[in-house]
Amino acid sequence: MPNELPPKDLKTVWQSQQPEATQMSIDEIRTRARNFDLKIRRRNLREYIAAALIAAAFTFFAWHSPSTIIRVGHALVAAGALYLGYQLHRRASSKTVPRELGAMGCLDFHLRQLERERIFLDNSWKWGIGLIPGLIVVMAGAIAAGYLAKALPFLLITCLWIGTWLWMMLKRNKRKARTLQREIDELRA
């Protein structure tokens, strides 16, 4: 039977697999590398521009709002957007340098990758925290000024729903972070 091969023969079975893909030429790999770099740069730029636009828009609103509370709220959202941009920049800067893939042994590389993922999950609450206080203050200011009196029940239900969803997401991330930490500890043992 084909599954009764001893392990020594499995090496032969393994090595006899025929390649599926054709080899890439130097020009092809150069083009792909250029396209890849361009894609990453564009993605980062898009994220920074989005954060800068949000910050600029809310600074404008803060400047022109009639109510002091709403003005403070808008300023907080603008600051939060800048903080989000900073977090995105930090995340992009911590990406793996290509040389590290070959300079680091697989265990060290994998440990670092798991550690990075754990930190990201552990700190996921920081991503939203930049924008949420400002939005809450804006909403409180709008309610106080009587702008949202009719829509208040709907807003409260929406906030409760979003809050529950965020809380569940954070709990899930924390649980995943703990699982990763256990895996890291096992690998280090």
């Binding site: 599954n3 393994w14 697999q17 390649p19 599926e20 792909r32 340098v97 893939l101 993922e117 895996e183």
Partner: protein, 179 residues
């Protein structure tokens, strides 16, 4: 083992790697990805990682060690990304060793063949164990695997022993055959 000249250009190093390790890298991608479409993407990702890594190649290790490290590390990143998408859980060699044989393994054997059974086992392992088993199947010795993985040679030797035991059990042979 492949000899190298540190002064070789990125293009030379990639050309040499592509010619020497093309088939091995193809097999390595199969160990990490079952879906043919995703596997093609992974293989391209590995080649891209190799090309970019050669900018920083300093010759402190052999070209073979460098190539396998880059390929395994890039592929392990792929596994970590996949796991984020709630795919099936991975097991360690120790867990694979003590786990019960799949009930349908014998019935499926004829249909799937040795290679499919082997790939199925390899793909369910955690990255480090997968790196060791693939290196073992590629014919690398414990010292070479230790250099690639950064595990101690004794640890690698222990894991290879376990690999043989798991393989022997999965293929319904006694441990004595697994030499």
């Amino acid at each position: 083992m492949t000899t190298l000249d540190v002064g070789q250009s990125q293009a030379d190093l990639y050309g040499e790697t592509s010619a020497t390790f093309h088939a091995a890298l193809d097999r390595l991608a199969r160990a990490y990805e079952a879906d043919p479409e995703n596997r093609r993407d992974l293989l391209q990702e590995i080649h891209l990682a190799l090309w970019r890594s050669f900018e920083g190649f300093d010759g402190r290790c052999s070209l073979r060690t460098w190539v396998y490290r880059v390929a395994h590390n890039a592929a392990a990143s792929h596994v970590v990304r996949q796991r984020k998408n709630f795919l099936s859980p991975l097991v360690s060699l120790e867990e694979a060793e003590t786990a019960a044989d799949p009930k349908d393994s014998e019935a499926d054997a004829d249909r799937r063949g040795a290679l499919e059974t082997l790939l199925e086992l390899v793909r369910q392992l955690k990255p480090i164990d997968r790196q060791i088993i693939v290196s073992y199947l590629e014919g690398l010795d414990a010292a070479a695997i230790a250099e690639i993985t950064a595990l101690s040679p004794s640890n690698v030797a222990t894991k290879i022993h376990r690999i043989k035991s798991v393989l022997a059990r999965r293929f319904h042979e006694g441990g004595s055959h697994a030499q």
